[in-house]
């Protein structure tokens, strides 16, 4: 088997496993898993920028929220149906990430992190400021009756699970393919040594901008899907915490690996699930995990696996 066949097998196997899980796992975990898959889309989007392009953003919650509120507000205020609202959600994330990318890419390193953090904070405060429309921290519920698309009731557990799986699979396979393409390989080259890539004749700034837009739009899709499938949009999803979560998932699962984001989300989700039944200070676990990761496994779970066992892993 060639490495390409192996990685294709791995990706299809993961999707098959997720499909099978619906029939095997008890209802509680099936519900968790649909949430995990939507969050994994967010992590995949983040990983594209952080893991493959080498840009650490602390403001991705802004893109997630752009998708979430693009969909939510267009349904709430303009009575759009789910399908066009999803397009609005994607379009808002695309526009927001293009603007932020254009501005933030004037900087690099620590400044890039702080600029993205500041823009996301401004976005969060803007949602609060227009509280009469967005209902601020409290958020708003998208009525069950509206959450249907192409004749499927997306509030139903089964359709919701498979809708999440479908979206997850599209993003998962598309990004896996993209990072193997010449474009993706150029992004990896930029991550490894930007100056060298530039002196090979690549327009690194425009490559990075495209990476921000792709990453931001995938994150926005996750936000829109979250609002649509779980029927809720709230400012909490725009807080700094939701910018830090994808970083945490990707670091934990393995930055720059295709399956790292999913592994990271599953691990973190259940870690928090278990610890929140013990203490209300469940974010303590997140903090400890972050510190331990930076100290002992900077490459994450999938990254360490790749380094030690499966060298072919994409």
């Amino acid at each position: 088997m060639t490495d390409t066949q192996r990685s294709q097998g791995l990706h299809l196997g993961v999707i098959a496993l997720l499909a099978a899980a619906f029939f095997i796992l008890p209802t509680y975990h099936v519900g968790n898993l649909s949430r995990i898959m939507v969050l994994a889309i967010y992590a995949i989007g983040y990983n594209f920028l952080f893991g493959y392009t080498g840009l650490l953003s602390l403001g991705h919650a802004l893109f997630f929220a752009a998708g979430m509120y693009g969909l939510g507000l267009s349904m709430e205020l303009f009575d759009l149906s789910a399908a066009p609202a999803l397009i609005v959600g994607l379009a808002s994330a695309l526009v927001v990430s293009a603007v932020i990318g254009f501005l933030a890419l004037r900087t690099s390193g620590v400044s890039f992190m702080i600029v993205t953090l500041m823009f996301a904070q401004a976005g969060y405060l803007t949602i609060l400021y227009f509280g009469s429309y967005t209902r601020g921290d409290e958020g708003f519920v998208i009525p069950q009756a509206d959450r249907a698309m192409f004749g499927f009731d997306l509030s139903n557990d089964t359709t919701r699970y498979f809708a999440a799986l479908l979206l997850f699979s599209i993003c998962f396979l598309a990004v896996a393919r993209l990072v193997q393409s010449p474009f993706g390989r150029t992004l990896i080259a930029i991550r490894e040594n930007e100056e060298r890539a530039r002196m090979l004749g690549y327009n690194t700034v425009s490559h990075k901008l495209k990476a921000v837009i792709i990453s931001g739009t995938i994150s926005g899709l996750a936000g829109a899907a979250y609002a649509l499938l779980f029927g809720y949009a709230g400012a909490t999803f725009a807080t700094v915490q939701y910018s830090i979560f994808p970083l945490l998932w990707v670091l934990l699962g393995g930055a720059g690996t295709t399956i790292g984001p999913l592994i990271g989300v599953i691990f973190m989700f259940y870690l928090i699930d278990l610890s929140s039944s013990i203490t209300s200070a469940y974010m303590l676990i997140a903090g400890v995990v972050l510190v331990l990761l930076t100290l002992f496994a900077p490459q994450g779970l999938a990254g360490e696996l790749r380094k030690r066992v499966f060298k072919w892993m994409p």
């Binding site: 650490l56 602390l58 501005l103 933030a104 004037r106 900087t107 390193g109 620590v110 400044s111 992190m113 702080i114 600029v115 500041m118 823009f119 904070q121 401004a122 405060l125 803007t126 609060l128 400021y129 830090i244 970083l247 670091l251 203490t279 209300s280 200070a281 469940y282 974010m283 303590l284 997140a286 903090g287 400890v288 995990v289 972050l290 510190v291 990761l293 930076t294 100290l295 900077p298």
Partner: protein, 308 residues
Amino acid sequence: MDFGPHLLLASLEGAVTAAILALTAMGLSIVFGVMRVVNVAHGEFYMLGAVIAWWVTSLVGGHPAIGFVLALGIAPLVVGLMAAAADKLILQKINYDPDRTIVATIGLMYIIQQTTLMTFGPDARPVQPPFNTRLALPWFEYGESGFAMVWPWGLSITSYKLFVIVAAVAILTTLWLVITRSKIGLIMRATQLDSETAQAFGVPVDRVYMWVFGLGAGLAAVGAVLVVPIQQAHYLMGHDPLLLAFITVIIGGLGSLPGTIIAAILIGMSDGVISVFFSPTLAKIIATLVVAMVLAFRPQGLLGRSVH
């Protein structure tokens, strides 16, 4: 109240904010200047300062001033030691790699914040100010009989708030003298300029980093002890100061100490004035956008020089 007295009141409140902000931001600025790392947990060291101050004052009976003075000594010391330990145990191990330091200090932020939630609890708790006399302030008006001194109702400040301003000025002046005049300051500046050369000349760079990190956190704690009689201690209170301190350090020019002070005064005063007249949320939106734009278009800050 008329516009004039109202503005004076806003400026005085702004000066208090500026004084606390200058201390907090100075801590962040020194750490960035000397070590070139961004400490995301800075706000939590601030919060710890306030919580320890509450704890010390609630243990000590008698006049509130006794507990307060003790807290002013103990809290920064304890917080500084904790930060130094965190530096030795975590940051030194990852070689101050900029990305990993940010991630590690984010982790540290949650650890400190959530541990405080588990022990100190979710409630906000007050600390008694050591003294708190209300001082009415005069205003001059041009009336029928020429200039006259009036005492508008509500135009007043407490003696404690004046003390906060004076204390911050005194602490920052001392710090300035230490950095520019003493041997410790010389070692810090040498490490900042070129840590490798400094190491070659026998400066124990690792230890300098450890104590600079401790000093940065200690300064945040001093600010918090001073603020806690005005604002109650709460486990989430570190969030806003962190953001404001970031803004201050960036506007002032990363690592520029005089720039940090000037920016703190500018931001503290305008924060005070703006939030009296405008919605605080709008003020924060504008402030964060300004910071993002300054970084994108003038990365050296308003007063900093470009780095080669």
